[in-house]
């Protein structure tokens, strides 16, 4: 719970920083604050306390994901500092990001549907603004507006779903809803089904699962790269953790009623995203489709829900975030001012900046799921979950789509190492980026070598 206070406090502090002009010390304080957040969360391990009359519950699941989010946010700040210093009102945007992190923490720790909704809204509204943070850029504006339009549309469905579920069960509390549904001697009513389905739609939109993914490629491509990185890591993790928390606890007892729908969504997500990514020339757009594809792999755990699903998800999102952040950081530096880069602009990167090329290679290999990197074990555990629950077909399909994934990831690697560079100017980078890349790479490798660290946690 202290985490929420610290994050909110940091956000307010950022706003004040503008007025009292201690902008200079803001950045280190935010970094320290994030580490403190993670530390305090870890201290609450195994306590499982509830707050605000049982609206938030910091059980181990919530703590693991919140701490993960805080650490990823820490890395994200290292990556995006230069962008904010050069292009925007740094204090405002820091505040927005910090508040959205509070939303993210709500989304992984709620035990009441009202808090889920609140979390999603806090997160989303900050993001709508951040997507448009490059005020003079038309694409950035377009992304912001599109995201806002479609996001509010999806929020409507979520709210509608919550209302229907409340109508049937008479409660917002996850535990009580579960009791009512489990104890309900009557059959699963159409009203409840509609409620569950509409909530699923709202959340599927947030994790950009097909067919509710249309916003993602456009918004990811139009937003500034650092914001895209934020959306495809922290937002996705929070949204999926929230999604899973709802369906694995509240509606788990009636999984037979909704599992087929999730399965259809997962299959569509895997196939459509991976195939579409093949033909993308913009690397950012390719990464957007790749991010959709990873949502597809994550959805498999929900289909094949069992007791190791949660650990598999935690491991997967951490592995995914480490690799993804590294890839976006490299993209950010390669694309530089124009905020977008085609596959060709990666040509010969190994000569222009060998370390960046190496980092990108490791990141892409991990995303593609090549052993011994973390991305491999992430997929491995998810496939194990599916196998143990008897979903062999979907595993086979996921393996095939992973193979397709290798194609588009390797395109970049080949461009970096085998093609002649278009310019010979070295890619300029800051020390902070290098530090951040080293941390990401080490995590990718260490998580891959010692997967038990995470997989035994929850």
């Amino acid at each position: 719970m202290n985490a929420v206070y610290i994050l909110s406090g940091l956000g307010i502090f950022s706003l004040l920083a503008e007025i009292f002009s201690f902008r200079k010390i803001l950045f280190p304080i935010v970094l320290l604050g994030l580490l403190a957040t993670a530390g305090l969360l870890v201290m609450d391990w195994n306590t499982g306390t509830s707050h605000f009359s049982n609206m938030l519950t910091f059980d181990n699941y919530a703590i693991a994901f919140s701490a993960g989010i805080a650490v990823i946010a820490f890395l994200w700040f290292l990556m995006s500092r230069d962008y904010f210093e050069n292009n925007t009102h740094v204090t405002d945007h820091f505040a927005l990001v910090l508040f959205s992190l509070v939303g993210a923490v709500f989304m992984v720790s709620y035990s009441n549907l009202a808090m889920l909704f609140l979390g999603i809204e806090i997160l989303s509204i900050s993001l709508y603004i951040m997507a448009g943070s490059k005020m003079t850029d038309l694409f950035s504006n377009e992304a912001s507006f599109k995201y806002f339009l479609m996001g509010s549309f999806a929020t409507g469905f979520l709210l509608f779903g919550i209302a229907l579920v409340y109508g049937v069960t008479g409660s917002f509390d996850l535990g009580k809803i579960n009791q009512v549904i489990t104890a309900g001697s009557t059959e699963f009513s159409a009203l409840l089904y509609a409620g569950v389905l509409l909530m699923m739609v709202g959340l599927a939109f947030k994790i950009s699962a097909v067919p509710f993914h249309f916003w993602a490629p456009d918004v990811y491509e139009g937003s500034p790269t650092v914001v895209t990185a934020f959306m495809s890591t922290i937002v996705k993790i929070a949204a999926f953790a929230g999604f899973f928390r709802l369906f694995a606890t509240c509606f788990a007892s009636v999984s037979g009623e909704w599992v087929n729908v999730v399965q259809v969504i997962a299959v569509l997500t895997l196939v459509v995203s991976n195939i579409t990514a093949v033909y993308q020339n913009s690397v950012k757009r390719m990464l957007a489709f790749s991010s959709i594809a990873h949502a597809g792999y994550l959805l498999i755990t929900l289909v094949a829900l069992n007791e190791i699903s949660a650990s598999a998800i935690l491991y997967y999102v951490l592995a995914y975030a480490a690799a993804s952040l590294a890839a976006f950081a490299v993209l950010h530096n390669v694309a530089f001012e124009n905020e977008n880069a085609s596959a060709e602009s990666f040509n010969g990167l190994s000569k222009r900046n060998p370390f960046h090329a190496f980092a990108m290679t490791v990141a892409l290999l991990s995303l593609a799921g090549i052993p011994p990197l973390a991305g491999f074990f992430a997929k491995y555990y998810i496939f194990t979950v599916a196998f143990e629950s008897g979903y062999v077909g979907i595993v086979l399909l996921a393996v095939v789509t992973s193979l397709i994934g290798i194609y588009y990831y390797f395109r970049i690697i080949i461009a970096m190492y085998l093609k002649a560079p278009e310019t010979t100017t070295p890619v300029a980078v800051t020390t902070m980026h290098n530090v951040m890349l080293v941390i990401c790479l080490l995590s990718t490798i260490i998580l891959g070598l010692f997967p038990d660290m995470i997989i035994k946690l929850i």
Binding site: M150, F153, A190, L197, F214, T276, V278, Y279, Y407
Partner: protein
Amino acid sequence: MSDLIGFIPLAPLLGFLFIGFLNKSLTKGWVSFFACGAVFVAFILSSVLFFNLLNAPEGQAAFTYTAFDWITTGNFSVSFSFLVDPLSATMMMIITGVGFLIHVYSVGYMYHDDGFRRFFMYLNLFIFFMLLLVMGSNYLLMFVGWEGVGLCSYLLIGFWFKNQDYNDAAKKAFIMNRIGDLGLILGVILIFVTFGSINYADVFSKAGEFPVGSEIITWITILLFVGAIGKSAQIPLYTWLPDAMAGPTPVSALIHAATMVTAGVYMIARNNVLYTLSPFTLEIVTVIGLATALFAATIAIAQNDIKKVLAYSTVSQLGLMFVALGLGAFTTGIFHMATHAFFKALLFLGAGSVIHGMSDEQDIRKMGGLRKYLPITFITFLVGTLAIAGIPPFAGFFSKDEILANAFAHSKVVYAVGAIASLLTSFYMFRLFFLTFSGENRASEEVKHHIHESPKSMTIPLMVLAVLSLIGGFMGVPEVLGGSHALNNFLSPVFAQSAQIAGEHHHLDHSTELILMGLIVGLTLVMIFIAYSIYVRRKSVPTSNEASLGAAHRLVYNKYYVDEAYNTVVVKPLYFLSKVFDSVVEKLLIDNIVNGTGKAITWGSKTLRLVQTGNTGFYILAMVISIIVLLVSRSFL
């Protein structure tokens, strides 16, 4: 004590990594220091273990050490663990001891070669894998070592890779070994299926439940023996070993005489329990060993390349070791392996010294009279030749005599053929010796001008090995000569279970044994005299005109045309089949499937991409339609 074990294979591995990573920044001196030092450390540690085992109290016959759990899946678990019992300790002493001497020798031999560092890297890696092979406490670890030494052998045969013939020789060795390895791995799989474990201890204890002659054990042992045939160059997979002489001479001494090629002997000795349970396989082992011993010995008579003669001699001697194993005399096989390691390493290194002194000349027809130019090489080579010929009290006498004594007890035919092979050995070895060292020098003036004795780093290992070839036999002096056969006593715990299964061995009485000994030594002296009268008194030199040879001589000179036969029967049809697969299956079928899949996905991508129109209205419409479909679908899903 057991904690030391892990360091033994670690030392050469570290040597390999160290030289490999610091490649260019190390001087040749440091490379030699690290490479030799690593093997020396392994040797010292092995000696400590060896003497500990030697003095160990009754019943404590082995040390084990588990480094870590390696693979655990389902009901299959393998740990990375080592077993040091008298058998592996003996092997380790030979590998690290002879290996160290050969490392030292190589410093002088390879000093002016551009690949000096690479050479020592490979050599250290070889020692590491060889140690894994003999120290592993399960079949998988042995297999890793087995494959590893095969790899090193390949790398070192093709060490001078700029010569295409050498590359071909390396490939030949690798491929022929692969045939054997297939047998080995099938055998190991069959062991796992039969016994549910691949740890030696489990397998051997469970093997006791099987009756003698059990069919499954026969299959296992035959498959394992196929592996041994490949690695130890027995008929029909022996042709790679003579070609392997393309590698630098120290490699021939270390890998292709003293250690790697004896891996097959070790493996069968290690599995003595299984082999004892299958008398049928033992018969096969005897027959193949015997045939190889004789066959290779006849070829060696007509070869003119100093290393080729030694190579065929190695094949022949390995055949004798298999005869011993086949007769159930496992200790005798190991004994001969040990003495052979000494004198054959000595002979190869001596040959290397000759080649070195003669400006890379290997043809014995162009040598002669080297006694006065290379005195140390001459003396040591003579010791080696006497040892392999089996003149008492040199090492080869004791071990070879023990094999023949066992053979005589088993069957007179085996004895006769074995005796002929060993008499031929003494003939061709002295032929080689006389042609090289006595008479007039037949080299060109220019070469003659440069002949020189090798440097100390090469002659000292020669001298040490000469001493070992002289006294090495005393570890196995038979009772009849007043000895107690120390090696036999040392190794007996390893073969105790087999001895129990096989029952009491038939022993020769002492007078028969003495008569046989006298007979074979007398005949050997006759063979030496014949060689002397042909090559020293009559000064005859093998002709280089093939047409003037008699039919039988030509057949032997051309190694019975086995290579040519293999080429026609196996290689050419394989090439043909490969062409068919290439043009039909690969190009027409697989390529089209692969490219078709790629094209289909690209097409799909191009098409699906168009759904992403960028129009928000369309997006929302698509979402709404999807939601409606999902809501309605409840009645269908």
